[in-house]
């Protein structure tokens, strides 16, 4: 966990760099989440003040978008596709396997802090369904055993 003072100085740096862009709020939120992994509640009043918005407005934007999170993620965030093309290739079975292998549901993080699981509605990898993304890495034609191999490899390299 980041120290509060470090956290706020990171937030301030991001705000200073981006606040003069037209429609700066989303770029700022991305900048903070890129740097910290999430958007801490303590950053909301700082952002609000810099952009001359109410805290409610900033909170409203954060909560509107599925991608933004207000809690720290696990070391690896797994985005598992639930959309139609992946369903046509067995995504529902894969989803059940993933949840049972990790022992968590969507929007949860494993007890050891290694993996967070999020649903995603299309990764544009529909020609290679079922698909998932871990960090920036995208995987296609994922079956249960391929998933286990990927997870075991990530755990080994931890």
């Amino acid at each position: 966990m980041t120290e509060p003072s470090t956290m706020l100085s990171t937030v301030q740096e991001v705000i200073t760099a981006l606040k003069d862009k037209p429609g700066a709020l989303l770029p700022i939120l991305h900048g903070i989440q890129d740097a910290l992994g999430y958007i801490p509640a303590d950053s909301v009043p700082v952002i609000a003040k810099a952009l001359n918005l109410s805290r409610a407005e900033v909170h409203g934007v954060i909560s509107f978008y599925h991608y933004f999170r207000d809690t720290p993620p696990g070391k690896h965030t797994i985005h598992l596709c639930r959309a139609e093309s992946c369903q046509a290739m067995g995504a529902s079975h894969l989803e059940a396997h993933v949840k049972s292998k990790l022992g968590i549901d969507f929007h949860e993080t494993t007890g050891d802090g290694q993996f967070s699981l999020e649903p995603v509605y299309c990764l544009g990898n529909c020609a290679c369904s079922p698909a998932m993304q871990i960090g920036h890495d995208i995987y296609g034609r994922v079956c249960a055993s391929a998933f286990d191999d990927i997870i075991n490899e990530l755990e080994r390299s931890a």
């Binding site: 037209p22 989303l26 978008y65 959309a83 290739m89 020609a127």
Partner: protein
């Protein structure tokens, strides 16, 4: 002399191991002392063959695929760098049946060139459209686009030239060009392929749009799920600025155009143009009432062109070869080509750019090769998560906006997702309601509340509860969504739901079918 080997950097190819294959080829070449010029191209769109490795020979580019790292040493042993025979050898890439039968206009360079190499882009007819546009009157640029018959490829199919004309004729000091790159429709990936495989064509198309309507600032609103496209676009934009294809006084013309990529944050509804503009302004992505049209009062209240990636990427060839050239492809009022995306349970998934008019059956069987599982194809969803499910009896419908509208279906963004006979269509209808509930922006009641009630209703129907009451109630609810929603999310969720019910009533436990709409 070094030999050029191509390994795609396309994210789907990478998802199947293309990066590792590229590294293995570089490694083997080094070990064997062979000079190889490794180019990371876009994908040719034949994804069942990915990673598809190509070698440049005097006869043309020869393809090998699908290549895994374990195949690489064997390929070198077989002298693949000189087109040697190997079990994975496929012959000349551009002679492959799947590729040869297409009409690639918008995708002409995708897979052929190094996506982020400006010289390569210029050597393959890049920036010819812009060079023409720089010497044309604004109204003439708009006229060329109008004459081409190009209609919005995002799904709504509104004539692009008419939209541009409205912005051109709305006086304002500031105007904007927005590229809607929030390709959220499941089963679609053509925008992604262009942005990763030929980003300059989008930059060029937006620049031409800017010249045409008098806008000097453009934004590409890109979905967060596309990190590879983000990188490719930013690299292309940087190089376009460096070579004065973006910025002030473009190529000494006195005209300016600036371009920036902005990232979405996982909200499907932000693919709706007014929601997208709210998001760009830094707000919740709530849908706006129309009118005013974005062309009159759009981003920050200024006249704004909002076009899909494929629409804008089709503009350079129209300005290069003329509106007539583009219009000569297609049928009826659907002019030009449509990049179709074959996805789901098909043997040969991929990108097929073809003139409008091919039947769905040709696409599914002649190109797609039938189902991947070998079982009969039961249903096909065309046009994304808000598109209708089509049964086998409708497979002879030609891909044409009007022909699809006539059977209460949509072509949309050209996504085609096939399901074999193991699919439960009631479960798919339930999923459609769930998706609408998750993604609803919440502004209008039919969509916000109706989707949740629809999800609950489908749950009861699947359990076989009160079908006499619940099925008519589902139809009534869909009627409310269809006619009472503010945008297409609520307004079109009934398409997959009711088409599933009408065409596959047995999956809902009902026999009698009263056709709706």
């Amino acid at each position: 002399m070094s030999i050029t080997v191509y390994v795609p950097c396309d994210s789907s190819a990478v998802s199947l191991g293309a990066d590792r294959v590229a590294a293995a080829i570089a490694d083997q070449a080094r070990q064997r002392g062979i000079a190889v010029n490794l180019v990371r191209n876009g994908s040719r769109g034949m994804y069942w063959l990915e990673p598809l490795v190509e070698v440049a020979t005097d006869a043309g580019r020869i393809a090998y695929g699908p290549v895994q790292t374990s195949d690489v040493a064997g390929l070198f042993d077989a002298d693949f760098i000189n087109g040697g025979a190997h079990a994975l050898a496929l012959g000349l890439t551009e002679e492959l049946d799947y590729f040869k039968r297409q009409q690639r206009l918008t995708f002409a360079r995708v897979g052929a060139t190094d996506p982020v190499n400006l010289d390569d882009y210029l050597a393959h007819d890049g920036y010819r459209g812009l060079n023409n546009a720089l010497n044309m009157a604004q109204a003439d640029i708009v006229k060329a686009v109008t004459d081409s018959g190009l209609r919005g490829r995002g799904g709504a199919a509104f004539p692009t030239g008419i939209k541009w004309n409205t912005v051109l004729n709305t006086p304002a000091e500031t105007k904007y060009i927005i590229c809607n790159a929030d390709e959220g429709d499941s089963g679609t990936f053509s925008d992604r392929m262009v942005m990763e495989g030929d980003p300059f064509v989008l930059v060029e198309g937006m620049t031409i749009a800017g010249l045409a309507v008098g806008a000097t600032q453009g934004y590409i609103y890109l979905r967060i799920e596309y990190p590879h496209a983000h990188k490719a676009l930013n690299t292309a934009i940087e190089k376009a600025y460096a070579a004065n294809y973006l910025g002030d006084n473009i190529q000494g013309s006195g005209k300016s155009f600036h371009l920036e990529v902005r990232l979405g944050a996982g909200a499907y509804v932000c693919g709706e143009e007014t929601s997208l503009m709210e998001s760009l302004e830094g707000k919740r992505g709530l849908v706006r009432f129309k009118p005013p049209l974005p062309a009159i009062s759009g981003l920050f209240g200024k006249p704004t062109v909002v076009n899909n990636v494929i629409s804008l990427a089709s503009v350079p060839i129209i300005l290069d070869k003329g509106g007539d050239h583009y219009r000569d492809f297609g049928m009826g009022r659907s002019r030009g080509t449509l990049p179709l995306q074959l996805a789901g349970n098909l043997k040969h998934t991929g990108l097929v750019e073809a003139a409008f008019g091919m039947t769905l059956r040709e696409l599914l069987y002649d190109f797609g090769g039938g189902s991947a599982s070998g079982r009969p194809i039961k249903a096909v969803q065309v046009g994304g998560p808000l598109g209708a499910y089509l049964p086998e009896s409708q497979f002879d419908t030609p891909l044409d906006y009007e022909a699809f509208a006539a059977i209460w279906a949509v072509v949309g963004h050209g996504g085609v997702v096939a399901f074999d006979d193991t699919v439960d269509m009631a479960a798919m209808a339930k999923y459609s309601m769930e998706f609408c509930a998750i993604e609803s922006c919440g502004k209008c009641t039919p969509c916000r509340i109706g989707s949740t009630r629809g999800y609950e209703l489908m749950d009861e129907i699947i359990q076989g509860k009160d079908l006499d009451k619940n099925v008519p109630l589902l139809r009534s609810l869909c009627d409310t969504l269809l006619n009472g929603s503010l945008c297409a999310l609520g307004g079109m969720t009934p398409y997959p739901v009711l088409s599933a019910l009408n065409h596959f009533p047995e999956d809902f436990g009902v026999n009698a079918v009263a056709k709706v709409a």
